[in-house]
Amino acid sequence: MKIMVAVKRVVDYAVKIRVKTDKTGVETQNVKMSMNPFCEIALEEALRIKEAGIASEVIAVSMGPANCIDTLRTGLAMGADRAIHVEATGPLYPLSVAKLFKALVQLENPGLLILGKQAIDDDCNQTGQMVAGLLGWPQGTFASKVVLDKEKQVATVDREVDGGLETLCMDLPAVITTDLRLNQPRYATLPNIMKAKSKVIKKYTPEDLKVEIKSDLEVVQVTEPPKRKAGVIVSSVDELIDKLKNEAHVI
């Protein structure tokens, strides 16, 4: 069975984000970029499944401009067997990504498609669900535990939901999106980095996959959230009640 993993190149999680002065987006020049943390977890899970003997190959996929190759190299250094880069300039929204994945899945026929639950730059949390819908596959999102049964070709997924944990059982092929507590991703060791140099990265364009990228969304403005105002220390309970009643209008 092949596993396809989606990885995205985003601004590093630890970087302090700054909004561009023209408010069209976030500053990405000269800022450290790395693999989306949830995608790291997704790749780690795929590697563990392969090491358990249930899968034979892990393919890392990334979409975007040429510098996505860096993220794919990281994925290969972690242990993915090969990579696919879909080169597309211009913004790629979740629906376009989902359509591209549908085309790739039809080409490669993986038994499992694992994605991070969301990307930390847009926080969409849509791609996994959309792909599953387009493919007609079952989906286990916000996975905090994944157990695969090779013979029955079934995946049991524990999902982190608001009320607690929900366990779903689904037939393969399926789509899984990973949540934080699923695993702790491994580091890229030097021997693996060395091996990664000889691994293949195949390039496609949206035209090759016969997918039309049209964005029906337009980012109008990006602003910082309003700064938190300082609190006020009140001197008595009466003053507190007065403020709650007359200023905050909550009682």
Partner: protein, 565 residues
Amino acid sequence: MQKWRAARRLLRYSPKSLFDPRSNPNSEHSISRSASGFAHCVDGEKYHPREFPPHIEHKKERSLWNTTERGLERTSRIQYRYYGSLASKIQRNPSFTTLNSDDINYFKSILGEKNVIEDEDTLLSANTDWMRKYNGSSKLLLQPRSTQEVSQVLKYCNSRRLAVVPQGGNTGLVGGSVPVFDEVIINVGSMNKIISMDQVSGVLVCEAGCILENLVSFLDNEGFIMPLDLGSKGSCQIGGNVSTNAGGLRLVRYGSLHGSVLGIEAVLANGDVLDMLWTLRKDNTGYDLKHLFIGSEGSLGIVTKVSILTPPKLSSVNIAFLACNDYFSCQKLLFEAKRRLGEILSAFEFLDNESLNLVLNHLEGVRNPLPPSMHNFYVLIETTGSDESYDKEKLEAFLLRSMEAGLISDGVLAQDINQASSFWRIREGVPEALMKEGAVYKYDLSLPVEKMYNLVEEMRTRIGNSAKVIGYGHLGDGNLHLNISTPQYNDRILAQIEPFVYEWTSKHRGSISAEHGLGLMKANEIFYSKSHETVQLMASIKKLMDPNGILNPYKVLPHSIISYS
């Protein structure tokens, strides 16, 4: 009667607050033993460390002891260094006066009631160093808010001959930041304003009480970094860093503070304010006196403002955590790194297997980056440059080549900032892990790189199974942090360590204190690394700048050299 009562109160006070839980349970009886021990005090004659009588005093606890002669006229208090060592008797200098209520009222009139602290609990933490090794008995903590206030306080203390201890973040490791007896603590922590930042030249001017980590965050917004980085950055203050010439993790790239500090404003013992706060990169007009204050550990003046040259923040930081089989490989790796990584190398640290085990055992959330297997040494290499892909390629090429050459047996490369921080956590967490393990004897030595680890191995053979010997440090600078960890402080083990470690270092023309300074711990050991003539000149300078000797007494210079009038 009053003095006697006060002294009695101190004696009763001492068992509760000055005793460390880790001290020897037999300590109760030492008080009576010390009575006879007093007969022969070292009375501050000139001596050479090796001539010392090798008797060891088993003093495990502090005892403030009061001998009353001829009624209650004189009290002489003898202080024992907490963990005991050869020649550990220091006498309180009788020429210093003691605090009285007039003094306190005067301080309150200058600084305000809030900034004159006599509260016992606050004083307890200000009197104790980070390692909980040194305990002073100061009764007063002052928190001036401006240079003017520092000046007024010092002027007064000088006129009254009240000894003072300048204090910042109190993170020093040689007992230099806490009182030995009842010196007044002057803590500059309230002076924490950032005065200016020049975007073009990169010069930052700030007050001495700014916490290093806060400066780093501020500079981050401006696009710069601090030229020094140390594990204590969350608490240490820049005034203290400058006063101790702190080294840290980035020295191999940005050099020492003697190079990065462009100007200092300091207050002398008599209250005079010395404004040398220039922000010029080049200024050859006369003797460059600021260098006297950098590294003199508060004994020549209190630093109140600093102007420091900050390097621009470069976008590409890469870090690798590597394993080597033997120390020779670590050395060769350093040699190769300096050549192949060249200008982008920004840190080169090493730790031995025992250090890593300590960290993994004691610190939470820390995991071994390398797949578990036996490695003897670990090296941390950091590169900082302006082009991400170029640097990564360079680093990868260097690492793969070193691996092929057999210098590295395994390694990992951090892929994002979180992974990078976790590698640093391992290296920076070793002192913390040591503290959690038990008592620790800490040595900070500069040695020729080829010989560095020989000392660790020799110490291990010497000590045997009674204690754990670990070595780690700034391999890039030839700086070894030798630590011996025992469950409790133990004079027998100390006798096996000192003076062997100092003699060994001296024999190889190393420094007995690479970056920690001398403080109280090594004041009398200076001769292992400096000649008599040099130390004599230092004493003359001290006498010139601080004739009454009130600034941080008993520290930095040996007690035999400093003679008080």
